[in-house]
């Protein structure tokens, strides 16, 4: 049997850099840029009006390069991450981030490319954006993607703006977006931001939406529904086609929160479920690293009828045939003109507008594109297959330990599973204590207390990049915690981390924002 990873590492204490300052020290070489001595000697007053000039430089630390390197290296040791531990954070898809993709994103010319470089010099870069768009269209069955949204919530906002614009153009003023009560918090927040009123629908025991229940909410004021599928319990919305039918009959749209797309990748096209819009979180399903909170990308996909509303700019493929004028056909399968050129276009008269100063989070996109090329069509379907198998393995195994805690006991989950705190509470341990105890065993905690409508929720997403051996090890830790942990120890955990339980009440009561 495998050992628990535990935590036996070496932690170093470290003071803030500002406290390590020594007057006059810095860690960066100042170039002379080939300037003449006479120019080097001048100060700022030779160039600009003294009334603008800053008298005191900002109070940055005064430290050398080795001090900076040691400081941040020590800090890094205080983090758990995907490369060190099993990280089953539900709804976050913490899969392995392939190293080659980091290397690709760091290619010298690509990472130093200015976004407004003339298009004729950067054709292969524009082609990446175009081709990646095509692949996502193929995987989802949708007509086109926009890469303007910088993360999942931005994708939701863009999608809702698209819906808003559609109705504006039709002369309809629909105000309501339906949102199941089990949805991510970003869904109602994005609805408000886009100028809609979110209306919550109560969901069933496993967070699922019932088509009959939905009908009660249907009116001509409903612009659309935001539905997470599989939902935040990891359960497939089995009424999805009926739901889509009801919505479409009412002239409304079905927006799918694609945060959980890892359950479908390569096996199911969302178009087959009647989905009109989706955002794909490239930092989840498509393996780009989450960076300790970002950056990400929330590519927005839409059906044909919504294409004209997508954000600008976008990459357009044009046939450079001067005799016949420009012949443009974006994302059409049979478009096969010779002398194709790619250009950045703002030509989209009903666009919702811009979301970001330039095109997209390109460095995120290129990693996701490389990921899909690596997998290829022969492996891409294994992603969701193994993710679903792993989650169901954990679900069934943990059900033996946490009996009575699974709100969806009979069925199969998709890429993640959720338990209530029922079984652990009986042993005197709360969900937060379980989370903190798992840390000392060497595991990152699952998502906790979400979804809200399940008591003390514990949400586990193993992903396809974990082995049975790791899953068994994690399950064994949960079992040990449940059987052996004393209440007194639970309250004091974690004990092996750099700091113990953080006082979040104090942090909010007397907030300290800076050093």
């Amino acid at each position: 049997m495998a050992k628990f990873p535990g935590i036996k590492g070496i932690f170093f204490d470290e003071d803030p850099l500002i406290e390590q300052s020594s007057k006059g020290v810095n860690g960066i070489g100042i170039p002379d840029c080939g300037l003449k001595k006479s120019d080097l000697r001048k100060d700022e007053s030779a160039y600009i009006d003294s009334k603008y000039i800053r008298k005191n430089p900002p109070g940055l630390p005064e430290v050398s390069e080795p001090t900076v390197v040691r400081h941040f290296t020590r800090l890094s040791g205080w983090n758990m991450c995907v490369d060190t531990v099993f990280y089953p954070l539900g709804s976050c898809t913490m899969k392995y981030n392939p190293k080659i993709n980091e290397k690709i994103a760091s290619l010298e010319n690509i990472k130093n490319l200015h976004p407004l470089t003339p298009a004729n010099l950067i054709q292969p870069v524009l082609k990446i954006v175009y081709d990646f768009n095509n692949i996502l269209c193929g995987l989802t069955g949708l007509a086109e993607f926009s890469f303007a949204p910088q993360a999942g919530a931005a994708g939701e906002f863009a999608g809702l703006k698209v819906i808003k614009k559609y109705f504006e153009l039709k002369g309809e003023n629909r105000k309501t977006i339906l949102v199941p009560d089990s949805s991510h918090g970003t869904n109602p927040a994005s609805s408000v931001l886009a100028g809609f009123t979110p209306v919550e629908i109560k969901t069933g025991k496993a967070g699922t939406l019932n088509a009959e229940e939905l009908k009660k909410f249907i009116s001509k004021d409903v612009a659309g529904i935001m539905i997470t599928n599989p939902n935040t319990f990891g359960v497939f919305e089995k009424d999805i086609k009926k739901i889509a039918e009801i919505m479409h009959k009412n002239g409304s749209f079905v927006y799918m929160d694609g945060a959980n797309f890892n359950a479908f990748l390569g096996n199911v096209k969302v178009s087959d479920m009647g989905i009109d819009l989706i955002q794909l979180n490239l930092h989840k399903t498509f393996s780009t690293p989450h960076g300790g909170g970002g950056p990400g990308s929330g590519a927005l996909g839409i059906v044909e009828s919504l294409r004209e509303f997508l954000p600008i700019p976008y990459v357009k493929k044009t046939a450079a045939d001067k005799n016949n004028g420009k012949n443009t056909s974006n994302y059409d399968k049979d478009f096969n003109a010779e002398n194709q050129v790619y250009e950045l276009s703002e030509d989209r008269k009903n666009s919702i507008g811009k979301m970001t100063p330039f095109l997209c989070n390109f460095a995120v996109l290129i990693r996701a594109y490389a990921y899909l090329l690596s997998l290829g069509r022969d492996n891409v379907g294994s992603v969701s297959e193994i993710a679903v198998l792993n989650a169901n393995y954990v679900k069934k195994k943990l059900d033996e330990i946490l009996s009575g805690s699974d709100p969806f006991e009979e069925g199969l989950c998709m890429h993640e599973c959720v338990f209530s705190d029922k079984a652990i509470e009986e042993g005197g341990i709360s969900t937060i204590e379980l989370a903190k105890l798992l840390i000392d065993y060497g595991f990152h905690p699952p998502t906790v207390y979400f979804p809200k409508n399940i008591h003390g929720a514990i949400m586990i997403e193993p992903t396809e990049t974990e082995s049975i051996r790791t899953l068994d090890n994690f399950i064994k830790a949960v079992k040990e915690i449940k059987l052996k942990t004393k209440k007194s120890r639970a309250a004091k955990s974690p004990q092996k981390t750099k700091v113990g339980r953080v006082n979040e009440v104090l942090a909010n009561k007397r907030p300290v924002f800076k050093s």
Binding site: P31, S76, N112, K161, S382, P445
Partner: protein
């Protein structure tokens, strides 16, 4: 058959999982879950994807692409317009390549995320120093989105009940024409749902600074309220704005303090605050701009680093995550996200913003960069930017081919017009598209020469990544392209 290299489960393991669940194969698995939703069949994806490839083959594809675009070593980049060609020390790549920084999620569990939280706290502290502002958040997506969220925050601050989305159709936000046009567009996208009008304030035709008389007039004339006035420093055309005068007018526009507009300052180049006074010194209520210049690559335009800062009395209306310093159970210093009740995962529809994932890793890069620069380096590098841009502009003006678009002081970016050429037969460029043609022709000579502002004006920047020899090359080639 082998497993794919990212999947630890062998084919045998997968068979074991199926046996454990009492399911025959993939078809049955998905059929049981999905019912009648069809599965993608093997042939379905053949139009869009080839078979998977090994790492070496993948590397070749992308290194070929890298070889087919302008070479970093051969090309001099003088384009700015919201993103700048600054030098990135190798320490940053080395430290950021530590998995402990780039592979975790958002620090929801503070005990196992102290490294990221501490680094973000230092980021907030450094940016607060640079801007002269009270509170800085742990990042937004980019400068434009951050600015749009600043306008939304100002709308909330102007409402009697800040928790309920108000109708702002009688209100107008004034945005200087010196604000980056892309930022202006993003503000429009974000404020569309509120009903607020977005009105532009002209620039002075000579100086290029926001026209103070027009601002005064607009503030006294309007019938509705003005929740905010937005100024960019230095502005899109590179000109340094007179924030001191603007602040006085904005903050004393109305006797009634409840109706005082928020003074929002943006910037795409906060490196300028190494030389010029930052917005916090002039009473800016909110700062929202771009921080990519600090230790981040241009990356073809993203990801970027949105900066957001405010006076501390407005902290409850700030979007995004904020790291605070606290203690653990043993009274040791510890860090955690604070004031989360502003955020979507708690407040849902009533949150200050929908933002969740942000630009955390870019912010850590900025923290490392600013640590390396230190107090003296930050100023010295800013001064180099100032000098190089001024030398370049002087040299270009000396050719007689250009004239300044505006006369106001500038930092590392400036705008030039092509001088009207009376000697028609000497003219090498098509009159209708001088600027874009100039840029294209210069690009063919390995010079990314700037951004077209109009048919006859270009926006040019110079950073510490430029050498005097690049400036000489620019001038020589500009002469050849324009004169022959």
């Amino acid at each position: 058959m082998n497993n794919f290299r990212y999947f630890p489960n062998s084919k045998k393991d997968i068979a074991k999982l199926y046996r454990f669940l009492g399911i025959k194969d993939k078809k049955e698995l998905f059929k049981k879950i999905l019912g009648d939703i069809p599965l993608i069949s093997d042939g379905d994806l053949s139009d869009i994807l080839n078979d998977g490839i090994d790492e070496n083959a993948l590397w070749r594809i992308f290194s070929d692409i890298d070889g087919a675009i302008p070479s970093k070593n051969k090309t001099a980049v003088f384009s700015g317009g919201g993103i700048y060609n600054h030098f990135v020390p190798s320490v940053i790549d080395s430290l950021i390549s530590r998995s402990e920084f780039y592979t975790p999620y958002t620090p929801y569990q503070p005990e196992v995320s102290q490294g990221t939280l501490f680094a973000l706290f230092e980021f907030q502290s450094f940016i607060a120093e640079i801007l002269g502002m009270d509170v800085v958040n742990a990042s937004m997506y980019d400068g434009a989105e951050s600015l749009a969220e600043a306008v939304l925050a100002a709308l909330r601050l102007s409402s009697a009940n800040r928790d309920i989305p108000a109708n702002h159709s009688d209100d107008a936000v004034f945005v200087s024409e010196g604000v980056n046009p892309n930022y202006y567009s993003v503000i429009k996208t974000f404020t569309g749902g509120t009903g607020v009008k977005i009105e532009k304030i002209k620039l002075n035709a000579e100086t290029g600074r926001t026209e103070i008389s027009e601002l005064k007039l607009k503030l006294s004339n309007g019938s509705g309220r003005v929740p905010a006035v937005v100024i960019q420093q230095p502005n899109y055309y590179g000109v340094i704005e007179d924030l001191e005068s603007l602040e006085k007018i904005i903050h004393s526009a109305y006797d009634d303090s409840e109706h005082t507009p928020s003074f929002i300052v943006s910037s795409t180049e906060p490196y300028s605050f190494g030389i010029i006074n930052p917005p916090g010194f002039y009473g800016a209520d909110i700062f929202a701009g771009e921080g990519n210049s600090f230790g981040n690559y241009m990356n073809f335009g993203g990801p970027l680093l949105g900066l957001f800062a405010a006076k501390k009395e407005y902290v409850r209306q700030m979007p995004g995550r904020i790291v605070g310093k606290t203690k653990d159970g043993n009274n040791r210093d510890a860090y955690a996200f604070i004031l989360s009740t502003r955020e979507q995962h708690i407040r849902r529809g009533a949150a200050t913003s929908n933002i969740c994932t942000n630009s955390s890793l870019n912010a850590v890069r900025a923290a490392i960069y600013l640590s390396l620069c230190a107090k003296s380096g930050f100023k010295d590098i800013a001064l180099l930017n100032l000098k190089l841009a001024h030398i370049l502009r002087d040299e270009l003006l000396k050719t007689g081919l250009f004239e300044p678009l505006y006369g106001g002081d500038f930092f590392n970016e400036f705008s030039l017009k092509f001088k009207a050429n009376k000697n028609e037969h000497n003219k090498k460029l098509d009159n209708k598209k001088t600027a874009s043609e100039f840029i294209e022709k210069m690009a063919a000579r390995d010079i990314v020469a700037g951004i077209a502002l109009s048919e006859n004006a270009v926006l040019i920047s110079a950073t510490e990544n430029i050498r005097l020899s690049d400036i000489e090359k620019y001038v020589k080639n500009a002469k050849e392209v324009l004169n022959g």
